[in-house]
């Protein structure tokens, strides 16, 4: 004996019209959700990039659009922001963030950790002026090449990329300079002092063999050299941001 299949109305109590509209909204919403990690941190020039930029208002408004690449592609070394605060010529305080002894509870420690990683990442991924100019020259040559060969259609994504980079580069420089400045001023405000030097430092991951031979994770040999990223006086006005000052 076959059991009669339940009708759609029995399964789903909403009217057909209501279900159709809801389905449409759900599909559109899922496109928004999936397009986030499809466009961040990497996107194609002609497909996902433009889709991501079109959907940016929704992503930004609803706090979607994240990449979700946790611990990918590899769990890497960590990055510290080290600071030296001076009162006149005297070194008043030396510290760093994140600092497990000072930042508590743990979720707050993690906020400081993310801030130090953000600063490092910003510095690391933003090219200096020479590299930026080199990229622009390369793109210009490519565009000329395609135009010379009568392949004008091929230049569109290159032109778009060149123009976008040209528009975003000064903003990146400004953004990083602003961030460094505010970090410096906040540390001076919190700890006193008249002048501050900010550094970034990488703590490498010791190999299993090194650790098996007795190396501790806090061994100084894992630390890179300090890399000066800025020097500020208390309540200094934010200096103008010449292109390329980031590194």
């Amino acid at each position: 004996m076959s059991v009669p299949k339940p009708s759609l109305a029995e399964i789903a109590p909403w009217s057909t019209q209501k279900r159709c509209w809801a389905s449409l909204l759900l599909v559109l919403y899922l496109v928004v959700v999936i397009s986030g990690p499809m466009t961040n941190p990497i996107a194609t020039e002609e497909l996902t990039g433009p889709i991501g930029r079109t959907l940016q208002p929704v992503h930004q408004s609803l706090f979607l659009g994240h990449g979700y690449r946790f611990f990918a592609p590899n769990p890497g070394p960590s990055h510290l922001v080290v600071f030296k605060i001076y009162d006149g010529a005297d070194l008043k305080r030396e510290g760093m963030f994140p600092d497990v002894a000072r930042h508590w509870p743990r979720v707050i420690y993690h906020r400081w950790f993310m801030l130090s990683e953000t600063l490092f990442e910003e510095m690391n991924r933003t090219p200096n002026q020479a590299s930026f100019d080199e990229t622009q020259n390369y793109l210009n040559k490519q565009i000329e090449r395609f135009e010379g060969a009568g392949q004008g259609g091929m230049t569109r994504p290159l032109v778009a990329r060149r123009d976008r980079l040209a528009r975003l580069y000064p903003l990146s420089i400004r953004r990083i300079d602003d961030l460094k400045y505010r970090v410096a001023q906040k540390l001076l405000e919190n700890f006193g002092g008249t002048r501050i030097e900010l550094f970034v430092q990488e703590r490498g991951l010791p190999s299993p063999a090194d650790v098996a031979l007795g190396q501790k994770l806090d061994d100084k040999s894992s630390l890179s050299q300090l890399y000066l990223i800025g020097e500020y006086k208390r309540d200094d006005a934010l200096p103008p941001s010449p292109a390329g000052s980031v590194r």
Binding site: K5, I11, A12, W14, R19, A22, L26, Y29, L30, V33, I34, P37, R53, Q56, V58, Q60, L62, F63, Y68, F70, F71, A72, P73, N74, P75, P77, S78, L80, V100, W104, P105, R106, V107, I108, H110, R111, W112, F113, M114, L115, T118, R167, L171, S172, R175, D178, L179, Y181, R182, V183, Q185, K186, N190, R203, L205, P208, V211, A212, L217, D218
Partner: protein
């Protein structure tokens, strides 16, 4: 013999039924209510913790420039935060109000209203703290969003207690419960899919040493597992298991046969990360998201066993 057109018709009809069953059948909101209670508690804690550094991150001279998040995209700026237009004198009073609203959402009082307020403030805090946010904020935000969308205050809530007192004791399963739960489930799959496939690009996930990268990172460490340096075979197994579980999650979390195992793995992986790498809040929020895959019957059974 069945003709191709009738096969196609049959396939389309089955697809339609499956789609409607997936999104639009009625579901008991007990799972959603449990998620509200747990996610609400975590969201409250996450934002309470900001109290220790409120001036530093949200004050008028915050460590992160107000313009930082808009400069990140450089093109469109639809990021928003109430901190942008709030007088600095109201920083602490508004923070207390926000915590009260989040506490009310957690206990399920006026859940719809406090739920919407919670989403608003979770996003608002996260946007203002761009540069210091991480996965926790992302999961907090979408959980709050979907919990505000569905009737998450039907169980374990003050709203329910008030309804019971007024004699409205029946909980009616609804379609919005299904939609909210499905959105959480799908969003979790999206998170794991991209987290997993992102790892496939990393050589340490292939040579089996990725977990060593987590163990040997001093800034993350809360439990010393460096003794595993002499037992890299175990590290290899944990690495491959984690990778396989994460990549396969969007596919194997749905079948009834594999679902309990994949949820169990979520508990092990995320609480393991929480205990050893000091990311307990992130571990817990991921576990909470995974609970969206638990059936209402299971939660009812669990509650009855606790009461018995």
């Amino acid at each position: 013999m069945t003709s191709p057109s009738s096969m196609l018709q049959n396939y389309f009809n089955n697809w339609l039924v499956a789609w409607n069953r997936f999104w639009f059948e009625r579901t008991d909101p007990i799972v959603l209510s449990l998620l509200r209670l747990l996610a609400g508690a975590l969201i409250l804690y996450t934002h309470f913790a900001w109290s220790f550094e409120l001036e530093t991150f949200f004050g008028s001279r915050s460590i992160i420039p107000e313009t930082y998040r808009s400069q990140l995209t450089g093109e469109l700026d639809f990021f928003w935060s109430h901190f942008d237009w709030m007088p600095s004198a109201l920083l602490w009073p508004s923070h207390v109000v926000v915590l009260i609203l989040m506490a009310l959402f957690m206990v399920g009082f006026q859940t719809r209203i406090t739920g919407i307020a919670t989403v608003f403030f979770v996003i608002s805090y996260a946007n203002r703290a761009t540069g210091a946010q991480f996965g926790l904020d992302q999961i907090n935000a979408f959980l709050a969003l979907y919990l505000a969308l569905g009737p998450s205050g039907e169980y374990f809530s003050v709203d329910r207690w008030l309804k019971n007192r007024a004699g409205q004791s029946a909980v009616i399963p609804g379609v919005m419960t299904t939609i909210s739960t499905r959105l959480i489930q799908i969003h979790m799959c999206v998170v794991y899919f991209f987290a997993g496939t992102g790892k496939l690009l990393g050589e340490t996930w292939w040579d089996g040493t990725a977990i060593w990268g987590a163990i040997a990172n001093l800034e993350y460490q809360t439990l010393d597992l460096t003794g595993l340096a002499s037992h890299m075979g175990i590290v290899n197994i944990i690495t491959y298991t984690t990778l396989f579980w994460e990549v396969s999650y969007p596919f194997l979390i749905w079948p009834r046969l594999t679902r309990p195992l994949w949820i169990l793995m979520a508990f092990l992986v995320h609480l393991g990360i929480g205990i050893t790498m000091g990311m307990m809040t992130f571990g817990i929020v991921m576990v909470i998201g995974n609970l969206a895959f638990v059936t209402p019957q299971f939660v009812h059974g669990f509650v009855h066993r606790q009461r018995a």
